[in-house]
Amino acid sequence: MILLISFVLIGAVILAAVLMSSQGGAYVEIRVDGKLYGSYSLSQNQTVDINGIGGQNRLIIENGRAYMQEADCPDKLCVKQGNISMKGQSIICLPHKVVAEIVADDGANENNSVDIIVK
């Protein structure tokens, strides 16, 4: 029994290691009204349709960057915010309460990174 559990665990660890190394660690975390909506690898090109509060946003992940392609919010400020790719960067759509944030950037730019942005 113990042997079986260890086997499953080791298998899971190897799988995770393979997955993480192929992803390079960085991903986009999407939250809607404070709740996790989903996490998406930055190294995989994809389109994410987001059901925000009272509307829709479409996030595109392309060549290691993420941007909001379209949204049916009135101000479209999220679309104007452009690309994000570095840890801590985020795109925020206030009307739909959507936050897309880059997390877990494997520490490559540790010395240059900041903890928080003042604006």
């Binding site: 665990l9 899971a12 660890v13 995770a16 290691a17 997955l19 993480m20 190394s21 660690g25 975390e29 939250r31 009204d33 404070g34 996790l36 009135p74 104007k80 915010q81 452009g82 994000i84 790719s85 570095m86 840890k87 801590g88 960067q89 985020s90 925020i92 206030l94 309460k97 936050v99 997390v103 877990a104 520490g107 540790e110 010395n111 990174s113 900041v114 903890d115 928080i116 942005i117 003042v118 604006k119």
Partner: protein
């Protein structure tokens, strides 16, 4: 190897049911140290959309969960109290001739009076009618007629506001708005809540108004990135980094809220002298102070006053705050108190 270890840890976490929040915090605030000194130090993160902006809060300590929950309640309470648009808010009722009593309003009025007197009127909570005239309170701001600006200016001025028993009583056409200090006051209140619950480290961003509690969990200073006013949405194009503990770091800039009409840009920080968006030669002002309310109010005031008056004011009160000014010519001017705490890839000048 590091990756495999991380993955193993991740899985142990998953199996032992530890929350994903804890993992995110560790990633966001990870240090260069390989050893985490505060093992067993619980952390909690919350975010909320309030006061027309996005806010995030993080705290470390045994009672972190309770502390951030209390902080969220406090944000909601103050939002409901200070909103200019909510018919149930104290500020709305005061602006519509009702009498209303609140300890928070008493405190904010005292601070507003101090700021008004000490900044030569550059900080003024009575500009609300002008904000309405310009349409900054609604969806469609536009340049008003000069005659309307002139008529509205007459209604503005803190010295014209009647204050009875620490309660403001705006008369016909007058109006108050604590928008210039509300977020700073709120982050200051959150610091008090953090203290009450024995928080060891914490940081809040209320729509980009930052206040830090203590140092980071590893004992190093919080690194606060100052937005480049020419590229406000590009968080990789920073004007510099200020490293602090136990401080509010608050920026005012014309890039925050603005509209364009006939090719000209109009931002939301109104100069009380002429009723137009302030044009004092600055792109942004960042204030660093142990007092969030003061930092918030001074960021607006110094943006209106311009560099010479701001430096003169700082020389009178160097113990209260420090600042970073970015001029229209892209000079970065940093007051001496931040000499050891400011860094930038660009050229900057230390002001004495």
């Amino acid at each position: 190897m590091k990756r495999i270890l991380t993955a193993a840890l991740l899985f142990i976490c998953l199996f032992s049911g530890c929350t994903r929040e804890a993992k995110t915090d560790k990633d966001i605030f990870s240090s260069n140290d390989t050893e985490i000194s505060h093992t067993g130090n619980a952390s909690a993160t919350r975010e909320i959309f309030a006061m027309d902006t996005y806010m995030s809060l993080t705290a470390y300590g045994d009672h972190a969960e309770t502390a951030v929950d209390k902080a969220i309640s406090e944000i909601k309470r103050l939002d409901a109290l200070l909103s200019v648009g909510d018919e149930k808010s104290i500020v709305y009722r005061l602006n519509h001739g009702e009498k209303a009593d609140s300890e928070d309003v008493t405190f904010l009025i005292e601070r507003s009076a101090w700021l008004y007197e000490n900044t030569d009127g550059a900080f003024d909570i009575t500009l609300f009618p002008l904000m309405e005239l310009w349409g900054f309170t609604g969806e469609h701001p536009a340049v008003p007629e000069q005659s309307d600006i002139d008529k509205t200016l007459v209604l503005c001025g803190f010295d014209k506001l009647i204050i009875e028993n620490d309660t403001p009583e705006p008369k016909d056409g007058q109006g108050i708005d604590f928008g210039g200090i509300a977020k700073g006051y709120t982050s200051q209140r959150i610091m008090e809540i953090f203290r009450e619950y024995g928080i060891t480290s914490g940081v809040v961003s209320l729509g980009g108004n930052v206040q830090c509690y203590g140092t980071k969990p590893d004992g190093s200073l919080w690194r606060c990135g100052i937005t480049d006013p020419d590229h406000p949405d590009d968080t990789s194009a920073l004007s510099g980094v200020i490293s602090v503990d136990d401080k509010a770091v608050i920026t005012s800039g014309g890039y925050e809220r603005y509209f364009t009409e006939n090719g000209k840009t109009y931002h939301h920080i109104i100069n009380p002298e002429n009723g137009y968006p302030a044009d004092s030669g600055l792109k942004s002002v960042t204030i660093v102070s142990a007092d969030g309310t003061l930092a918030d109010g001074l960021s607006t005031a110094c943006f209106v006053m311009g560099k010479e008056k701001s430096f003169a004011f700082w020389r009178e009160h160097p113990e209260l705050f420090d600042m970073v000014l970015i001029t229209n010519e892209n000079e970065i001017l940093v007051t001496e108190g931040l000499k050891e705490n400011f860094s930038s890839r660009k050229d900057y000048t230390i002001i004495k």
